[in-house]
């Protein structure tokens, strides 16, 4: 046990964890600012789209529209929370608040910062999934106990998106670059990743592209868990998200070093 603890304490995960702790402390200190929007929004969106729009849509297959939508929302909230924090949030910490600068005067290195920020984005994603799950079950949209696995799944989704976002943060020359990332990448993906409707009727090319983007496997994985319909394919999606996170972390760490150590 002791050697495991020593190994852990000298690993990048542990050093990243200290960066994670810094962000946790800052959020707990200002929790009132964060909480309102995070809690209220999922209830409103589920009610409006799930039941308001859902009344016109009817069923998708033999699933009520609100039930179809809920897991998609869990995945997309995970995406938004992780991405927002690892773009605007991280850029602010790096550029305006000089948080990274102070960290670099300690044994922390740029790669640790990237890992810590990605872990933090993932945590925010997991927390958001708890809120959406509560909202969904309060509307009677959750039946399987496997739905609880949507929380670690949201962590994984958040890890992938936060890692990708850190590549942008490490390379952006102004905070305005984040706007483009949202308008060109995140928002369009949000509409063609099976969150709101199945992809069956989309052109072949859009469908292929969609499965290569992270939100489509994320939504499918979450939907399988929340509905309790497990399949072997889910392992493939987990691997896909893990691979995206790993590659993005590696690239982000490279650019972050180049940006901070000069």
């Amino acid at each position: 046990m002791a050697s495991v603890s020593v190994a852990l304490r000298s690993s990048f995960i542990w050093r990243g964890f200290h960066v994670w702790q810094r962000n946790r402390d800052a959020v707990i200190r200002g929790w009132k600012v964060e909480l309102g929007g995070m809690v209220i929004e999922p209830f409103v969106v589920l009610a409006a789209l799930g039941f308001g729009l859902g009344a016109y849509v009817g069923n998708i297959g033999d699933t009520r529209y609100a039930e179809y939508l809920a897991p998609g929302l869990i995945a997309s909230y995970a995406m938004f929370h992780a991405t927002l924090d690892a773009t605007y949030g991280a850029y602010l910490r790096m550029d305006s608040h000089h948080v990274y600068e102070a960290m670099l005067f300690t044994p922390v290195e740029p790669s640790d910062i990237v890992v810590g920020e990605a872990m933090w984005g993932a945590t925010r994603a997991a927390v958001s999934s708890v809120v959406v799950l509560i909202a969904a079950s309060s509307f009677g949209l959750v039946s399987s106990p496997f739905a609880l696995l949507a929380i670690p799944c949201a962590y994984l989704v958040g890890l992938a998106f936060a890692s990708i976002a850190m590549v942008l943060t490490a390379t952006a020359s102004t905070i305005g670059a984040m706007n483009n990332f949202f308008t060109v990448f995140i928002i369009p993906m949000f509409y063609v990743s099976g969150v709101f409707f199945p992809l069956d009727h989309l052109p072949e090319s859009v469908r292929v592209l969609s499965w290569a983007l992270p939100l489509t496997p994320a939504a499918a994985l979450t939907r399988g868990l929340v509905g309790g319909n497990l399949s072997w394919q889910m392992l493939l999606w987990v691997a896909e998200l893990l691979a995206m996170a790993a590659v993005a972390l590696y690239v982000a760490a490279f650019f972050m070093r180049r940006r901070l150590i000069k």
């Binding site: 304490r9 050093r15 200290h18 702790q21 810094r22 402390d25 800052a26 200190r29 200002g30 910490r93 608040h97 000089h98 948080v99 600068e101 102070a102 960290m103 670099l104 005067f105 300690t106 044994p107 922390v108 290195e109 901070l260 150590i261 000069k262």
Partner: protein
């Protein structure tokens, strides 16, 4: 490199794609010594500091901190350094106490010990009642004291101070100086940059004056004053242009002088200056002991840098 040396630079060079900020510099800092780096803006002081702190790669030459190479053993070096940077890097998202505890975590200091040391640091720098305040609500002097306290949490063996008292009022400056002297007596090594010559004279055992990336002079403050400015200075207020052939007279007497625009400075020992008094009769004259500022201005010139 002998174990009694804390920092050693050999032909240390920093080239920012064509702009040579540090140009083949050699120096060494002994353990327990306070070593000052003086120079005008853009002289290369901060570049040297950054390389020592392992946040800026060495372009060429060698830089060794406690027998470790800055290019290869970054984490190990950074864990023995305490850094007070020029830019204020307190975390605005955390309160004063959290700033200290978060910093301590980066050094893997266990929680209870970190708390103990954080309170001790707040006491040492008279900040105890500010523990739960936001750094944004601290005065400049308090922020600087907190930065120094934060740099000491992991009990570093080398303290890096980049202009530690710039912008402070005299009260805060003296508190900082007292604490730094205490630390020096405890045996901590210090590498200090400053624009204040009184600070350098007060704290430094040895210092070097650099400009444009090169070392101009190096030694104890006393030795530098003696070598480059002598014992006394006669400051003659001439309100240029110099009439009456004052400069020619000084030249003829073989005196060491410097034309500083609105005044002329004459350097020398007490007796030789007394003998030449007649040369500046009729002018408004201030006679004072030579100091480091004279050395600094003589070595680096009076032209503005930015």
């Amino acid at each position: 490199m002998t174990p009694s040396i804390a920092i050693e630079a050999n032909r240390l060079t920093k080239d920012y794609s064509g702009l040579v900020a540090v140009d083949s510099v050699d120096f060494s800092v002994s353990k327990g010594e306070c070593f000052g780096v003086l120079g005008p803006n853009g002289a290369g002081k901060t570049s040297i500091m950054k390389m020592v702190c392992c946040i800026s790669p060495v372009t060429s030459g060698q830089l060794v901190v406690q027998c470790m190479d800055v290019m290869r053993q970054r984490r190990a070096i950074k864990s023995v350094l305490g850094v007070v940077s020029q830019a204020d890097s307190l975390d605005p998202g955390l309160n004063v106490m959290q700033n200290l505890l978060s910093h301590a975590r980066f050094f893997n200091i266990p929680g209870t010990l970190a708390k103990e040391r954080a309170w001790a640091a707040l006491d040492l720098f008279q900040l105890r009642e500010k523990a739960s305040a936001s750094p944004d609500h601290l005065s400049g002097g308090m922020r600087r004291r907190l930065l120094i306290g934060r740099a000491l949490l992991h009990e570093p063996s080398i303290l890096i101070l980049d202009e530690p008292t710039t912008g402070l009022d005299p009260q805060s400056r003296h508190l900082v100086w007292d604490r730094l002297l205490q630390l020096k007596h405890q045996g901590i090594t210090m590498l200090l940059t400053t624009h204040y010559m009184d600070e350098a004279a007060y704290l430094c055992d040895r210092l070097m004056v650099i400009d444009l990336g090169k070392i101009l002079a190096e030694g104890t403050p006393e030795k530098l004053v003696r070598t480059h400015a002598g014992e006394q200075v006669v400051q003659i207020q001439t309100l240029a242009p110099h009439s009456n052939g004052l400069l020619e007279q000084l030249e003829a007497q073989g005196l060491d002088y410097e034309d500083a625009g609105d005044s002329v400075l004459v350097f020398g020992d007490t007796s030789s200056l007394s003998k030449s008094e007649s040369s500046w009769s009729g002018y408004h004259v201030v006679r004072r002991p030579a100091n480091l500022e004279d050395v600094f201005l003589r070595l680096t010139g009076r032209w503005l840098r930015d």
